[in-house]
Subunit: 452 residues, 2 copies
Amino acid sequence: MSKASIPQGTRDFSPEVMAKRKFILGHIERIYQSFGFMALETPAMENLSTLTGKYGNEGDQLIFKILNNGDYLKDIDVLNIDAKSLTPKIAEKGLRYDLTVPLARFVAMNRHTVQLPFKRYQIQPVWRADRPQKGRYREFWQCDADVLGTDSMLCESDFIQIYQMVFTALGIENYQIRINHRALLEAACEKANAVDHFKSITVAIDKMDKIAWEGVEKELQSLGLDNSQCNILAQFLIKRPFNLSTLETLNELLSSQTKATKGLSDLQQILSFCNNTSDRVILDGSLARGLDYYTGCIFEVIINDVAIGSVSGGGRYDELTSVFGLKEAISGIGISFGIDRLYDAMEALQLFSGKTPAFTDVLFCPMEDNALPWCIELANELRQQQIKTEVYPQSSKLKKQLDYANAKGIKAAVLIGSNEINTKTLSVKNLITGEQMTCQANDLISIISQMP
Amino acid sequence: MSKASIPQGTRDFSPEVMAKRKFILGHIERIYQSFGFMALETPAMENLSTLTGKYGNEGDQLIFKILNNGDYLKDIDVLNIDAKSLTPKIAEKGLRYDLTVPLARFVAMNRHTVQLPFKRYQIQPVWRADRPQKGRYREFWQCDADVLGTDSMLCESDFIQIYQMVFTALGIENYQIRINHRALLEAACEKANAVDHFKSITVAIDKMDKIAWEGVEKELQSLGLDNSQCNILAQFLIKRPFNLSTLETLNELLSSQTKATKGLSDLQQILSFCNNTSDRVILDGSLARGLDYYTGCIFEVIINDVAIGSVSGGGRYDELTSVFGLKEAISGIGISFGIDRLYDAMEALQLFSGKTPAFTDVLFCPMEDNALPWCIELANELRQQQIKTEVYPQSSKLKKQLDYANAKGIKAAVLIGSNEINTKTLSVKNLITGEQMTCQANDLISIISQMP
């Protein structure tokens, strides 16, 4: 007999949690679809050759590897072998680490049938052997949308629109969509005469929210940057409203840098497409993200009232499919919502209240066993009207039946005993007010429909 | 550079396939919910101690095991060790093999919070290291519903109802719901004086559909059963309509067997609950399924017009949670749809045609780049009316844009060039008929809505 437990860093999603997750995912999926994004799903297992080398050394360590089946040690000399050299010999598959590499792999495998621009969304779990801690799981859900095969800034503009629609639908009001452009970051480093330190500088400035400018400055100084270099960077590393006047300011700051041209014209184009950008969109010079990967605009979204980190991020990339041998360079852009963080944020802001549908609308309570057939008949009629209906499976004591109804949040009970059977009437109980009334079977649907 | 490929026995689900899968899953989920079933999701990874010993020796071999992270060989003497003894030392987790054991594990872990009867559904992939072949995959989806904590025959009746509702919703007409009861099988063996061979007999009769009575008879004879024993079993192993007259026949056949009593009274009760059972419900004396597991009614559903095996099965069990240390015996019953087989059957019967929604309803085609802002503005208005809308991301040649629309099955295109901008009119093209008309922006939504 085994004691029941689940692996560290994994979770069961109970019905109550699932209802809230479905609320979030349903809105995101509907909004993705409203822009013509199409669903894709890929296998949980990928060949390790697909996964390794894409996430850096540290990432490779965090991939869950699956033991080959059968006699996997056959023909392997285990003498003097360590885990690191043994692993590739006994494990050929691993669990998906993100949804982006599988997308690239899918497009590379199906290049002849995939119509460009290819707009796909993908909502699936990913697995990382990270040390579990509060808010960090070994199995967690990503919710990605990507457009492959066009470098039009319409995509950037659409994603800004999508962000706004999603947060409106979820009832989240106080959020910030941060945008930056890799070319502007490069131009700023160029102007500060610090191109050699580009990568270290982006790592430092990405911490702005955590350690403030004073902390970033110290890191820049430790890289060998002098005061004047730091001051040049400081002018750029500011959060400004994403509007024409901000673009003018940046144009003045970076006018002498050729690298800035592409970034500024991209941003100007996005602005011309988002004719009613709200003040929730911010041009954040300190936003860097994983720059190895991104080549153009980058996004990050935070919710202001909760200390939960970013709930979404994304950006434009140019080389994704080339790692799988595609000769043409396919430009792409994508965003990803972290559902677990969105969930935690909405819980903290108490935004789920009243938004998830009841598990069951009506419970039929048989007061004696021979009431069951009539209960079943009426329940089927309600179901045909899209009313979620259960029959309590036996004529237990009414209190027990109503306890069940209350635990499940059911708002109406229909009581049927010998009296009801004899008089061909029904007793309908509103479980919120406690009110009870008698009605004819024919009137049941309209009475239930009128209950709040 | 790695060549793109996916593991044997796994699949990508392209947008076209996903649309059809969502059609199936959406109906099943809606119908489960209409009976008050609640969603549950469990982790892909379970501790191996949870999984092993639940699926028999052969099943244990088919569990995908996950390599422990870090230096998993530390403190292990690999000298003279074989794969079988090494595995438990280097792998503590495995991938979910079905959805039933995780359910039992969940209930055992949460017994204090789970309200009985507990009605849950679960739609998730499972993994088995089976030899891949046509229709058999290493990653496939199950779609389960179970009721735990009641032995009422209402559950059996509800599941028969659910089957009928699901097949009606999917447009599948020619199906058969087969039902049998373990107690009747036992009574038949008892009457044939062959109780000692019970397990082997059920294995033999379960093949009735494949090898017919002649084949089954041969297997029974090889077990040592004589002609009169075979004849007694043969009377029982017949498919009969599930109605009162069939129950009378069985009552006569098995009247002297005490074991039959419970089975017959259960079936009679189910019949009293399903007052309008169709002739699609069959009492099939040869239906046995995995009897180690089931203790009461068993179900199997087949689609008559396709040779695809059963698309769903299930039954009542009594001991599920006891393996995880729960002292009380919780009676349960569940069914499971095999989504992959349902999908294949519906493809074969051409039942998807016209049933999946378009990826995108309307494509805006900018004929020059400065038409993009107006396209974007109008597209957002359509989206607010629940019309799925895309803007082609650049002013490519009209043919290219319309090729994209056709490949994606888009039925309406709105063309905007300098002429349209100057006259403030729109050109709307019906991509099915080829018809094109001019309209005012204000009339666009009503024109689109009227298109078939």
